[in-house]
């Protein structure tokens, strides 16, 4: 078991190394012109340059700010509304078609509206981030609330638990794993939309820096910023998974995973 894990780790490192070497060799050999794809070493140099600049850190902060606020609003609204709709059957039946209709509306359709209403303000970024990530959370919480064990619910009724106590002790523990999954999905979507808003609308942040680098022809810097965006995405995924394991440490699925 232990040896298998080490082997996997080494293979992963080797794969990553091979990928980086490939990206160094392909442009150097002239297979792809360097002005389209700079070799790894030049991207790394540009990345080091960026890391030394205050404007880069400000852009990173702006992106993370929009991401965090938008995600927090979306999660709060999604969990609140999800529990409310999920625990009242009539409400669930009445809203199902509306949710099915609103969910697939692509959030980027709101870009022109956001520009008109808020310009390049933080608020236009938030509008997109909240709209996109809200549905991820809501849909997960709704299916969680639907999954409540009827026997547990009947037991709660027999013990005369009030509405609030039922939500707290029966519905919430069942919903939590779903809500956390929704949070993980929403965290990734929120980052994509935050950066998209910056790229298209021009709100300050990493996306705007990428657009600026592109128009000014700073190709290695553009690639370096794309790499940063990717690393940010990886970081968000890893953090969300770590949170998932922590919050759900009591849950059978996590316990099984830990034992295996």
């Amino acid at each position: 078991m232990r040896a298998g894990r080490w082997q996997r780790w080494w293979l992963g490192v080797a794969g990553l190394g091979g990928f980086l070497v490939l990206l160094e060799v392909v442009p150097r050999s002239g297979l792809v012109p360097e002005r389209y794809l700079p070799p790894t070493s030049r991207i790394a140099g540009a990345l080091a340059d960026e890391l030394g600049q205050a404007s880069f850190w400000r852009a990173l902060g702006d992106t993370l700010e929009g991401w965090a606020i938008g995600l927090a609003v979306a999660v709060a609204a999604g969990v609140g509304l999800g529990l409310l709709i999920g625990s009242v059957p009539a409400l669930r039946a009445a809203t199902a078609s509306t949710i099915e209709f609103l969910r697939p509306i692509p959030s980027v359709a709101l870009i022109p509206l956001a520009v008109l209403l808020f310009g390049t303000d933080l608020r236009s970024k938030l509008l997109l981030v909240v709209y996109a990530s809200f549905w991820q959370v809501l849909v997960q919480v709704l299916s969680g609330a639907q999954d409540v064990d009827p026997v547990a619910m009947d037991t709660a009724h027999s013990y005369r638990l009030g509405r609030w106590a039922r939500v707290r002790h029966v519905v919430w523990p069942t919903t939590l794993p779903y809500a956390v999954t929704g949070f993980r999905l929403a965290a990734a979507v929120a980052l994509v939309l935050a950066i998209t808003a910056e790229l298209i609308i021009g709100s300050p942040g990493l996306g705007k820096e990428i657009a600026v680098a592109q128009t000014s022809g700073a190709v290695p810097a553009m690639y370096a910023l794309v790499v940063v965006a990717g690393l940010l995405g990886v970081g968000v995924n890893l953090a969300a998974r770590a949170l998932e394991r922590r919050v759900l440490a009591w849950h059978p699925s996590t316990r099984r995973e830990a034992a295996a």
């Binding site: 080797a14 022109p112 790229l199 657009a211 794309v226 990886v234």
Partner: protein
């Protein structure tokens, strides 16, 4: 009688809230003086004139064709690569970090890179759509191929089923529920990228036209574009559900059978 009442109740549940919301929008905006929030009457009034004329052929259909081309290409590439990577434990371990990184790059960020490589033509837009759609399909295929049933695997070996037949009847079949899940995620990403690639740099297309309206302060026209995008999103997801129902009917039947009669 009773049946009719049930049907009416169902119709009310499905249609009630959407109609109420539309009516609310209609009434609340009826004498709106706000420049940015025109009356719904006005938006619907310009809708047909804006989108059903020459723009349907010049902007809307080419956008949809690019979406379809990119999505199909991503599906083929994603499934093919996914089967290769998923079949080998070593290859999977070697590719995992790279794939995780590539998947985590927000796809719109790649638009500037593809503009650099392929200009602002159709190639760039299709490439952008492929680059965003491929990851959910690829990663889900890898998972699906990896988690196939061992008994079926052994059965295939015993009966000497190999090569193309094994691929078709065992590997792809077993992975198909996962592949379809990946394709569903990819479709919604694809719509977003279709719009974004046109908003960023283009001279035609749905996203481009909507941004033009916004820049020209043609507000009712812009709103009609937002409505059209929403309708497209809904229509494509309904179409996909029909497709899923067709492809995975065996799977849903199997699940029902396993759960036993209720």
């Amino acid at each position: 009688m009773n049946q009719a009442a049930t049907a009416a109740r169902r119709a009310l549940l499905v249609g009630g809230l959407p109609l109420a919301l539309l009516a609310l929008w209609w009434v609340a905006s009826a004498d709106s003086q706000s420049f940015y929030l025109p009356p719904l009457r006005e938006i619907l009034g310009v809708f047909a004139g804006v989108w059903l004329g020459p723009r349907l052929v010049d902007d809307v259909l080419p956008s949809l064709a690019r979406l379809l081309a990119g999505f199909a290409l991503a599906a083929v590439l994603g499934v093919a690569l996914g089967v290769v990577v998923g079949s080998s434990r070593r290859l999977r371990a070697a590719c995992e970090p790279v794939l995780e990184f590539l998947r985590a790059i927000p796809p719109p960020v790649l638009v500037p890179i593809f503009i650099l490589v392929a200009g602002i033509g159709t190639t760039m837009k299709v490439l952008v759509i492929v680059s965003g759609c491929i990851w959910p399909i690829l990663l889900n295929t890898v998972e699906g191929v990896r988690a196939r049933d061992e008994v079926l695997e052994d059965t295939c070996r015993v009966y000497g089923i190999a090569g193309g037949a094994r691929l078709r009847h065992l590997v792809l079949r077993a992975a198909s529920p996962q592949i379809v899940t990946g394709m569903r995620q990819a479709l919604s990403i694809g719509i977003i990228l279709m719009v974004i690639s046109e908003m960023f740099a283009a001279s035609s297309g749905l996203g481009f036209t909507i941004i033009q309206f916004q820049r020209g302060f043609a507000i009712p026209e812009m709103w009609s574009g937002i409505l059209l995008l929403g309708l497209l999103g809904v229509a494509l997801s309904l179409l996909f559900r029909v497709f899923e129902h067709q492809v995975l009917s065996w799977y849903h039947g199997l699940r029902r059978a396993q759960r036993g009669p209720l």
